[in-house]
């Protein structure tokens, strides 16, 4: 076994070595998230060839990186996962010699709890998880999580909830009156469970709900991400995005360089590259999420700058919550409620 492994990794290293001659960079990022234009521009400016590999969840990314031997240089974990990556030594501090423009990060994202002083990461994109509503079916206030948990008659039967336990449980806990999404208050959790069980018959699906399904009217309302909602609205102007006033999750995906990166210098160059406002704007134009780099809005089209999905209304900003991962005990309770809900 050991010899085989040694031989295999030897062969892998040999290929990696050969490739290094022509300067490469291997990015491990969420699917359908990396702007091809951005990558083209980076290659043009630096001559570094970029390979992108997709993942579909933080857990997948973390598990694969933990195993080692992945060959990636860059990963883009969400805020809740950054600390785990740091604590386990999976990502390395940014090199101040190469990453010189951390000052370009918007003040609100400069010194964040999950990465004090931005020692390890820079923003890729950030967004919110809220509600999507087809206003031609229901034209009431969209900023109300009750549309999902206690739906009006018009929407009942046309609701889709993303199968993201963490997001859905958070919005539900906030709606039921919880401050902390990892609450251990059993009375509150009981309320959340009963509320979900009661709401479920009104839900058509718990699906990732393709943008088309909303645009074409197969789905009428749901829990959805802001950027995806914007893409759907551009296809169907009746769709509006709602920020639940009782509380909604705010997230940020962050670019980090892996400790076992094979091309750390190229990776650092890429990190600094996306800190340039004109480059960060490309990320947003493609994924339709804000990026966290000061001044990048200038380089975006009008549509993006004023999008109601991207610009959070003044009075609803404070309802957005940036959260830490819950403990295993609380996660187990959430899983149990979720399993009961989907049994």
């Amino acid at each position: 076994m050991k010899t085989t492994l040694a031989l295999l990794s030897g062969a892998l290293m040999a290929t990696a070595g050969a490739a290094q001659a022509q300067e490469v960079l291997n990015i491990y990022n969420w699917g359908n998230y990396t702007s091809p234009e951005l990558i083209e521009k980076f290659t043009e400016e630096t001559g570094i060839e970029v390979t992108i590999t997709d993942y579909d969840s933080n857990d997948t990314a973390l598990a694969r990186i933990r195993q080692g031997g992945h060959g990636f240089d860059i990963v883009v974990p969400s805020n809740t996962y950054v600390q785990t990556f740091v604590e386990e030594g999976l990502i390395q501090p940014l090199d101040p010699e190469i990453v010189t423009d951390r000052g370009n990060i918007s003040p609100q994202w400069q010194d964040v709890a999950f990465d004090p002083g931005r020692e390890y990461t820079v923003p890729w994109a950030w967004g919110t998880t809220g509600l999507i509503v087809n206003s031609s079916v229901y034209d009431g206030d969209p900023n109300d999580a009750g549309l999902i948990f206690d739906p009006p008659e018009e929407l009942a039967g046309g609701i889709n909830v993303i199968p993201e336990m963490v997001d859905v449980m958070s919005i539900a806990v906030y709606y039921a009156g919880g401050e902390d999404r990892c609450t251990t208050d059993t009375e509150l959790l009981r309320k959340v469970r009963d509320m979900l069980m009661e709401a479920k018959p009104d839900w058509l699906a718990l699906d990732y709900g393709t943008i088309d399904a909303y645009a074409q009217g197969d789905l009428e309302a749901g829990i959805y991400w802001n950027g995806a909602t914007m893409r759907a609205r551009l296809e169907n102007p009746d769709l509006v995005y709602g920020y639940p006033r009782t509380g909604y999750p705010v997230w940020m995906d962050n670019v980090a360089v892996l400790s076992d990166a094979q091309n750390p210098e190229n990776a650092m160059q890429f990190v600094n590259f996306i800190l340039q406002p004109e480059n960060a704007a490309l990320i947003s134009e493609f994924a339709r999420y804000a990026n966290g780099v000061e001044g990048s809005a200038e380089f975006m089209d009008e549509e993006m700058r004023n999008a109601p999905e991207i610009v959070v209304p003044e009075d609803l900003v404070s309802a957005g919550r940036f959260s830490e991962p819950c403990s295993q005990d609380v996660t187990d309770i959430h899983t149990q409620i979720w399993t009961e809900l989907l049994q």
Binding site: W203, L204, A205, L206, G217, D332, T335, W338, T339
Partner: protein, 299 residues
């Protein structure tokens, strides 16, 4: 027919293949088994602290609101049963649709059969996910079938087919049908048509010939086909997720939840082991039943 294996030479020849099979099959299984007796790690993975908690949680649950109360974990049992039941239905649908198809192919002129078989395998050229999305395109509310029926005036409003058990069954039957047709065809191909004629000569009706001559002779094809359909069906993940709309979980989704957002790898491992045990047990019972002589079965 019966040959005594076991000469050194034979063993040497088969050793590499056996080694791969044993290592590749048992290695991961041992890991899964070991994981199921450990504790969940921080943010996924496992911690090397032995625990039977996963197996306990698989069957029982502590009441969230009162940890003293321990009850059966119905939710897990319900999901388990749904998977088994949908897989059995899929197998039945495949058998009902597959039999005439295989019979049709087997009764073509020999040089034509290759073409029909070839047609059966065409779906395998396309990725499963793509085919599943194609079905979704057909049956969704604004999809091909509903638009067509609406335009023809057959229905007043779209029929809700997506996100139902019906959609899952259609998808699974479509995906697994070739796996039933191929072994059935293999069995029918060897069928001696003179026996069928003999049945008619002995004044057997069509149904009688079918029941007493054809069925017993192609039974091995049915057995192989059912196994090939049932086992992947019970672990199906993509089809129920895309077509079923995720309102209810199947076993594959439940296991994935533990390795993903639930972050309880030991529980996921225990579920996977239980699935394996159930499948193997069902297989043994089924094969015993299928290989039993008819007299034994009736008596």
């Amino acid at each position: 027919m019966r040959r005594r294996g076991g000469t050194l030479w034979n063993w040497l020849l088969s050793a590499p293949a056996l080694l791969v099979l044993v290592l590749a099959a048992s290695g991961p299984l041992v890991i899964v088994l070991v994981y199921s007796f450990l504790s969940p790690g921080n943010m996924g993975g496992v911690a090397w602290e032995p625990s039977t908690d996963a197996w306990f949680r698989l069957f029982f649950k502590r009441d969230i609101f009162d940890p003293e109360v321990v009850t059966w974990n119905e939710a897990h049992l319900v999901v388990f049963w749904r998977s088994v039941s949908l897989s059995l239905q899929t197998t039945a649908i495949c058998a009902i649709l597959g039999f005439p198809t295989a019979w049709f192919i087997a009764t073509r002129a020999p040089h034509r059969r290759a073409l029909w078989l070839f047609l059966i395998t065409i779906p395998f050229w396309t990725n499963l996910l793509v085919r599943t999305f194609a079905i979704q395109e057909l049956i969704r509310n604004t999809g091909t079938i509903n638009s067509l029926l609406l335009r023809l005036g057959v229905i007043g409003e779209p029929i809700q087919m997506m996100y139902t058990d019906f959609a899952v069954l259609v998808g699974m039957a479509y995906v697994f049908l070739p796996l039933m047709v191929l072994p059935l065809y293999a069995a029918m191909d060897k069928l001696d048509m003179r026996l069928v004629e003999a049945g008619y000569d002995l004044y057997g009706g069509r149904l009688q010939v079918l029941r007493h001559v054809i069925f017993p002779l192609v039974k091995p094809g049915f057995v192989a086909g059912s196994i090939l359909v049932f086992i992947p069906a019970i672990g199906a993940y993509v089809t129920p997720r895309v077509l079923g709309g995720g309102r209810t979980m199947m076993l594959g989704n439940l296991i994935e939840l533990q390795f993903g957002q639930g972050r309880n790898w030991p529980l996921g491992s225990a579920m996977a082991m239980l699935l394996l045990i159930v499948v193997v047990a069902a297989l043994v019972l089924y094969l015993r039943w299928a290989n039993a002589e008819p007299e034994q079965r009736n008596g």
